[in-house]
Subunit: 612 residues, 2 copies
Amino acid sequence: MDRSIDSVADTAKPVAKDMSHHYSDLAKARKPSSMKMFYKFFAIPGIANFAGGLPNAKFFPFDTLEAQSAHPHRWRPTPNYPGVDAAAETSSDNSPTAASHVVVPHAADTADLDKKIDLTTALQYGQASGYPPLFSYIRQFTRECLHPNVPYEGGPDVALTVGSTDGFSKVLELFVNTWVEGKNDIRERPGMLAEVFIYPSILNQAHPRGIQVCPVEMDDEGMAPYGPGGLEDVLANWDDAKGKRPHLLYTVSMGHNPTSGILSLQRRRELYEICSKYDVIIVEDEPYWYLQFPSAAIKEAQARNKPIPEYKAANTLPNKSGYPFLDSLVPSFLNIDVDGRVIRLDTFSKTVAPGCRLGWVTSTPAICERIVRISESGTQQPSGFVQSIIAENIMGPQPEAAAAFASRSRRDQATFTGWKTEGWVRWLAGLRGEYERRMNSMCSLLEEHAYQLKQSTPVRDADSDWGVITKTKLYEFEWPRGGMFLWVKVHFEEHPLFQAAGSQGNVIDGPALSTALMTFLTHKPYLVLVSPGMMFSTSPQIAVERGWAYFRLCFAAETDEKNSACSTQFGQGVQKFWRIKKVAELEALLEEAGALEANEIEELTNLGWMGC
Amino acid sequence: MDRSIDSVADTAKPVAKDMSHHYSDLAKARKPSSMKMFYKFFAIPGIANFAGGLPNAKFFPFDTLEAQSAHPHRWRPTPNYPGVDAAAETSSDNSPTAASHVVVPHAADTADLDKKIDLTTALQYGQASGYPPLFSYIRQFTRECLHPNVPYEGGPDVALTVGSTDGFSKVLELFVNTWVEGKNDIRERPGMLAEVFIYPSILNQAHPRGIQVCPVEMDDEGMAPYGPGGLEDVLANWDDAKGKRPHLLYTVSMGHNPTSGILSLQRRRELYEICSKYDVIIVEDEPYWYLQFPSAAIKEAQARNKPIPEYKAANTLPNKSGYPFLDSLVPSFLNIDVDGRVIRLDTFSKTVAPGCRLGWVTSTPAICERIVRISESGTQQPSGFVQSIIAENIMGPQPEAAAAFASRSRRDQATFTGWKTEGWVRWLAGLRGEYERRMNSMCSLLEEHAYQLKQSTPVRDADSDWGVITKTKLYEFEWPRGGMFLWVKVHFEEHPLFQAAGSQGNVIDGPALSTALMTFLTHKPYLVLVSPGMMFSTSPQIAVERGWAYFRLCFAAETDEKNSACSTQFGQGVQKFWRIKKVAELEALLEEAGALEANEIEELTNLGWMGC
């Protein structure tokens, strides 16, 4: 990480555009925490600071913060280019159980705030942009490793958040005036574009602010730029009478939740051009960016006896990070953001743990500065406990840590040298390996039960022992190109009881069958809980029209063993569900589901699902 | 902590009133994260959860989280009732350097979520109300130890925050619609009551939302209920043409920042009655609640040769916590809150460390539930790193922690049994002891320089070697009854150059002298930086009229040695400043101060001062 993008002739780059016309009233009114006039006094050598309201670090009850930290090679990576780069698959350097002891000392003896990692600074009041050592590391990693091609002058800045839910909440505060039906003019109603299927927590954040979330059509890759219901279509044919033309676009473009697609660079260019034309801010929420699975397309083809697709590099941009794993991933919208209209949300929730409550926003310096103002009035900085232990784990060790432990016998202390960027990238590659194998395992097991085979000859007598086998597709899916989810479309219209008469004069429609199957799968011996697709529908209309046909299956949470066993059980359960012949059986399942009945679709789509 | 307030006949208690008419539009529109319909499925034994979007805890890179934790007796307490309770002062059980090793294991083997403290749960997605073990501990401590007299049925609930700045931000989101000048009707403008001097970060949070912050007169104790400019006066004579009558009252009632008063129980009753009459929500922000200094009044009297005040118990309410230290403190507004209109903000910032970013809100269950909804859409839970290490430190140890360490030699591990509530209360008492001694030290040193002694006989000749000594009071202050600050009033009107003609045709007024002295004190040999009182003025008018006469001195941040040395230097600096005879000297100081000039008072009062 010794190459600086600042070395590129910056003067040739376009200046990021001013986006302040999009700011909310509240955001416009927030003033920066202007301590500048006091800085000159703070800097006087030996001055006693009776001015601030800081407690004395001597009274913090912790003398150290420590952790047993995994070796960055703990998990086995998968190839970046299957068939081209096989080295990783056979790599034998993983050491599953090894751990090192990481120590954040009480006081580190350095004046360089970007390198000083200790409890005296980490547990004191700090900067809302982030703990200086971690902030500077993340900023450098972001600029040089993740997004080395950002086209605007000076490049992007970062601001730490307490996770991406917080990050998105701050983005909404920055760009949206709360709109209230019956109180505010409909022409003032804020709008936000998103794919037809969406991470439901986003709706929970947007709806209370009065935001109209406008679904945009998508395919396996992600949002569609053109065609009916595509981005251009929605914006060009906007009806002002139903609200303001949306100035925000929300997307998960790498391992989309729930559909698991990855947006190609070419598609990004097309969408970006439209956003630029209509002056739309792009919010790119990427918790799964490092979970891009190049083997998925190949293994899917093999499983289905189709031709193996040709290898195509996902990233054809000129500047590289120098880390083959990172350079193999599809690049962020930031790398084509000539206007400065992209805000990316990153999080440590999936790379370290959700309980970190630590993430960051990447955007233009002007937008990051506004995010910091919002943090100053709310969350302030992320917790110093997580900031310091992660900083120490990656950037450590501090010489003081060893000294603090001189008196304690530690066989693992001496060997720890900090993960550094190499270790951090290797850790990410290892995680990708684990999740990619789980994804492949679930998919191959689901393939085995996707069809119902039925002998269609009605009568077997002694004279004819042959029969015609019919094959009915019960469900279909793409092998996930990224993320943590498998998005299964179930062909309920093929179920024998589809549109059958119910006992109340109703018909057994798609939503009813969907709810019945979901409930059925939780029974023994299947014992699988899946998420109904209605929950991920961007509008109630989408839930009613097509959301019911889908289930989302997460291959991340369970053990390897359970992941495999229950993938099989899912397939077996669907097969068995198809053999239900009595409406009464379905109605019993629907009764059991209770609140999950079809007439509560709207509530279902408004569900919060923390940590989806 | 074995006594439950639930054992009190709850049916005899009043039901908390519904405060939802005060909720903001945004808060009203927020829905709870309704996962309830899924709970029955989660509870099926052996079910595979393919529904949630959780990463696998196996992939968290930390196998343990550990810390060297202080013995709870590290710091020496002061008596709860000086002259009555002398035991604490002579207590010899403090052990300044001892530390225990605290370990949060990767997985604890208990099914009781309120006792399970491990990384598998703490670092996973969790509940916005807080990490179950810590949440349940804080809830019990709050209900049984801090506020055992809450009068409404069922008692209060708690919701964890990422610190009190976050807590107050959520309170504002819950109760305030953003108001924009020139866009919204003036009669809709929200208002908030506060003392004439205020923690400036509160203004930074309130002003951008369009809140009119209305100053209420105060005395040494705190907010005045009656009299001109008192609470009743402000509310009774409210002019609707300048905005809505305030429905919020903000106060720091225990160690007020910056004036350091403590509101008596009697005064609380008077203020509460007025708030009840005018339907005002009371927000009580108490970072310093445990820093109540019973020796201050006695030592102040001794220093000034005045009669020692009689001992008066601060808490005369019937229910006790059983911990003499806690029971000696003045009780919160919550303990007289028959209506359910009090919201209290607590934080670990001063009891553990600001970098925790951990605190909690205490109020009625209905209000706490709304705070949790807001958290779900933003911060989610506080960081699992800080939640688990604090839970383990107080509630530990987990038996698994010892097991995790069986293979490592640890002389300090075996002895750790967790602080428990007794240790936690003892830790707080020890901190109070340290800060109380620092306060007394600063005050006694400031007493020494408060007067300028001058021989008023103009000519001394051989025949008369006597003279008249005149005593001019340069500054005055109350010895702080609580908190971290000393609030000094400087008698600039006694300065020889007060109202002198400046070189620009101006006069050297109070604000100018104040700024000049602040700058002068940063010079050698004084080297003291103090906070100007203008910063803490609730309105620009108060800054201009009287704020300039005050400085706030923090006795918490510096070392004991520097605290003493620089208190003396402050006194000497003021003495020396009084000997300045030339306007030019003052003008040089003003020029040096630059941005701190009097004409920038408004900017000064809008200053953010993170961690004041």
